[in-house]
């Protein structure tokens, strides 16, 4: 649904995006994660045919972003980083304007607008002018605008950045629901937990380059290490670590708990439990330690920084 190969954008001497390749299948959510100025918005702008790539290509919903710009924009819903609305307009009037640009008939424009506004909790704001909307309401209306023509691909730039937790959840739920109806998403964010909740895959972009891409588990395994398990027992460990040393790599321990890493928890954990039971040790819990996206992200950035410094030193 979304394919990009070697996508590059230079503004004079400044390399905003460098050799970005992405592939997002139908019905998937890709989170483009990165700090401010990493190249997320430029990438989205190239994918909506607003900016022409300096090199590389991208196809969105089957259309080439360079040669079929109008078709790309007709099939994509975009939530721009700055959602600037026409403040003297009423919400339905505003949505009607955009609906006309997408060639929706009058009945569809109205019914879609009302339905989406209701869904995002804006049903009570129909009579207000957009200038009277709060920041979060404006962002929700911008999201409604992006979804108005029922696009198959949605590119959302920081979709919940200005929202309170309740509204943010509303938006996340909407994204997850749309994903179930085979919509494809690229969501740019620097909200790590949001990326973890929403995304099937995460691409981390830094200084215009994708420095890592995969599922949360893949990224965790690759950058933080093998899955980490935590074992809690009823009584003090008393040399238990040595008893398990041939099976697992114990990385941390306390009085009545220990953590170990294993490449294959499905095979190893039952063996560990069998041995502990054989030794007469009462196991309270054995559970995986969830690696937070933050830990993964920071490790990836750290490694990239090191690689960058190494490459600078070589030069």
């Amino acid at each position: 649904m979304i394919e990009a190969q070697g996508l590059t954008k230079h503004f004079g001497d400044f390399h905003a995006v460098e050799d970005v390749s992405l592939n997002v299948e139908r019905g998937m959510v890709l989170a483009l994660l990165g700090p401010n100025g990493a190249g997320k918005t430029t990438t989205v702008r190239m994918m909506t045919s607003i900016l022409k790539p300096t090199a590389g290509w991208a196809r969105i919903a089957g259309y080439d972003v360079t040669t079929q710009a109008v078709q790309v924009r007709a099939h994509v819903g975009v939530l721009t980083e700055q959602h600037g609305l026409y403040e003297r307009m009423h919400p339905l009037e505003y949505l009607d304007f955009f609906g006309r640009l997408y060639h929706l008939d009058a009945a569809t424009r109205r019914s879609r607008a009302l339905q989406l506004m209701e869904r995002f909790g804006l049903g009570d704001a129909l009579s207000k002018r957009l200038g009277e909307f709060s920041k979060g309401m404006k962002q929700k209306l911008a999201l409604v605008r992006a979804m108005l023509h029922d696009p198959s691909v949605l590119l959302l730039d920081e979709p919940t950045s200005a929202m309170d937790p309740q509204s943010a959840k509303l938006v996340r739920d909407a994204i997850l629901e749309l994903r179930r109806s085979a919509r494809t998403f690229i969501v740019t964010t620097h909200n790590l937990s949001e990326a973890q909740i929403l995304a099937d895959r995460i691409a981390i972009i830094r200084r215009g380059r994708i420095i890592a891409e995969g599922t949360v588990e893949e990224l965790s395994r690759r950058f933080v290490g093998e899955p980490l398990m935590e074992l809690r027992v009823r009584f003090p460990l008393n040399g238990l670590t040595q008893q398990l040393g041939d099976m697992v790599d114990v990385v941390e321990q306390g009085d009545r708990w220990l953590r170990y890493r294993t490449a294959d928890p499905v095979a190893v954990n039952p063996q560990v439990l069998r041995r502990l039971t054989g030794l007469g040790i009462d196991v309270v819990t054995l559970s995986p330690v969830q690696q937070t996206m933050e830990a993964i992200y920071l490790r990836i950035v750290e490694e990239d920084e090191r690689a960058q410094n190494g490459s600078n030193n070589v030069h």
Binding site: I50, L51, V78, T80, H83, Y86, R88, F97, L101, Y102
Partner: protein, 479 residues
């Protein structure tokens, strides 16, 4: 086009919701025409007391033009705000993300900037005219004059809006756009003064075909509009609209672009290499403007020759056949002497005209360079016609013109072509570079052609004109 009209509709409705636009429009539509009508009546009564009815009669259509012009000056404000205002309010990107094409967006915005002020202008003129036609004054003008004023008002609005849209799409803030608007306001003010002079002083003011000079101005306005539209549609692109973030004048960067494009390094190393790698490739790029300028020169010569055949435009036979006087004129010319100072004078004369043509070209899309360059050819054509009409020997004309022209005409041709390219280059679309950079490169190319080719040719032509042409004329005169 339907998408363009959707944009227009939204913007027009938005304009009508803004009291800062509505209030002046109402005043200029209803209050100002009534005031002008009253003023016209007073003026007419006053000048009639002193037997100067003509002034009063000419004031009435002049005020009609002013009544029409004031509201359309608002279109400039709306148009200046059209892109840059959206950019400042951050509402441009959502619009750019829709399936609107660049042309649809351009047309939609341009129409939106024109419609409210033009409507206001037409209504204002209607109010003013109805008072004059059906009121106490019972003014009965030539209908064509009214048509001319309405057309001029529309063309002025078109020119201002298309120019302002170009400015608006190339700036990053409303402040910068307003500052740059002086490039539109000043010429328009001069034009209004010119139109006023024409309306007061035209000998054909009562002609049923309208005032000829106003038709000429109308054509000029339409040409300007077409050029601005071409610039607008060519340089307008989403990337430029969104990509710019600063309006700072970066002199260092500009100097760097000029320096590199001029090939200063090549010039300081090996002049032959500079010609080979920096100058001759530019001459290749001048092929099309050279052809255009050449056609215009030939047309001007032929036009001058045709006009010179017309009885009204011929030299009085007596003065032309005064061979003694003619010989004296030539003698004076020869007596200027074949001195180096005369060579410098000839170079300076041609050089400053070409320099002026280049400067004017830069602010007129190249048009003024062509106008300045072809004028002497029109005069030459006219002069040649006098020789043939009065049965003078064309050989004398050729002797006085051809020797140095063999060098001078190619020099003028190249300089004019480079100036045309400099002025017209912004009307073309350019991939992966800004309009400013393209223009600076063209400027450096113009300098290269000027210094590397045109100046040496002008010096050579001046040498021939001072030292050889007089000898050839002497021979033609029979020694």
């Amino acid at each position: 086009m339907s998408n363009a009209l959707v944009v227009t509709r939204r913007e027009v409705l938005d304009s009508f919701r803004d009291w800062r636009i509505i209030v002046p429009i109402l005043i200029l539509t209803l209050g100002f025409p009534a005031l002008s009508q009253f003023g016209a009546q007073l003026m007419l009564n006053f000048v009639t007391q002193y037997g100067a009815e003509l002034i009063g009669e000419r004031t009435i259509p002049f005020l009609l033009m002013i009544v029409g012009f004031f509201p359309i000056s608002l279109s400039l404000v709306i148009a200046l705000e059209t892109f840059v205002g959206e950019k400042e309010r951050l509402s441009l990107e959502p619009l750019l993300s829709t399936p609107l094409t660049n042309l649809e967006l351009y047309i939609g915005k341009t129409l939106a900037a024109m419609i409210p002020p033009l409507l206001s202008s037409y209504v204002g003129m209607g109010v003013y005219l109805s008072g004059l036609l059906f009121g106490e004054l019972a003014w009965r003008p030539q209908p064509m004059l009214i048509v001319q004023i309405v057309l001029l008002t529309t063309a002025q609005a078109l020119l201002m809006v298309t120019g302002a849209v170009v400015v608006s799409s190339q700036t990053t803030s409303t402040r910068a756009a307003n500052l740059l608007a002086s490039f539109i306001v000043v010429p328009m003010s001069l034009l209004i003064i010119l139109e006023s002079i024409v309306m007061f002083g035209a000998p054909d003011a009562e002609s049923p075909n309208g005032i000829f000079s106003l038709w000429v101005i109308l054509v000029g306005l339409l040409i300007g509009t077409v050029l601005f539209m071409r610039v607008g549609t060519r340089i307008f692109n989403r990337e430029e609209l969104l990509g710019r973030s600063l309006d700072m004048l970066n002199l260092r960067w500009a100097w760097g672009v000029l320096w590199r494009q001029f090939g200063v390094r090549l010039l300081s190393g090996d002049i032959r290499r500079w010609y080979r790698e920096a100058v001759f490739p530019v001459l290749g790029e001048l092929r099309r403007p050279v052809v255009v300028v050449m056609i215009c020169m030939v047309a001007a010569f032929v036009g001058g020759w045709v006009i010179g055949q017309m009885p009204d435009w011929r030299l009085p036979a007596a003065s032309a056949q005064d061979e003694v006087g003619l010989a004296n004129n030539f003698r004076e010319w020869f007596e200027m002497g074949s001195r180096p100072a005369t060579v410098l004078l000839a170079v300076w004369q041609n050089g400053r005209v070409l320099l002026a043509a280049t400067i004017l070209a830069a602010i007129s899309f190249g048009v003024m360079a062509v106008v300045l360059a072809i004028l002497p050819f029109g005069i030459l054509g006219w002069l040649f016609a006098q020789f043939t009409v009065l049965n003078l020997s064309p050989g004398l004309f050729l002797a006085a013109v051809v020797p140095h022209s063999l060098i001078e005409v190619p020099a003028i041709l190249l300089a004019t072509a480079a100036a045309v390219r400099l002025g017209a280059i912004i009307t073309r679309a350019h991939e992966n570079t800004t309009v400013g950079e393209v223009w600076l490169r063209a400027l450096a190319d113009t300098f290269k052609v000027g210094l590397g080719v045109v100046l040496p040719l002008l010096i050579l032509a001046a040498l021939i004109e001072v030292f050889i042409t007089p000898l050839v004329v002497r021979i033609a005169l029979g020694g």
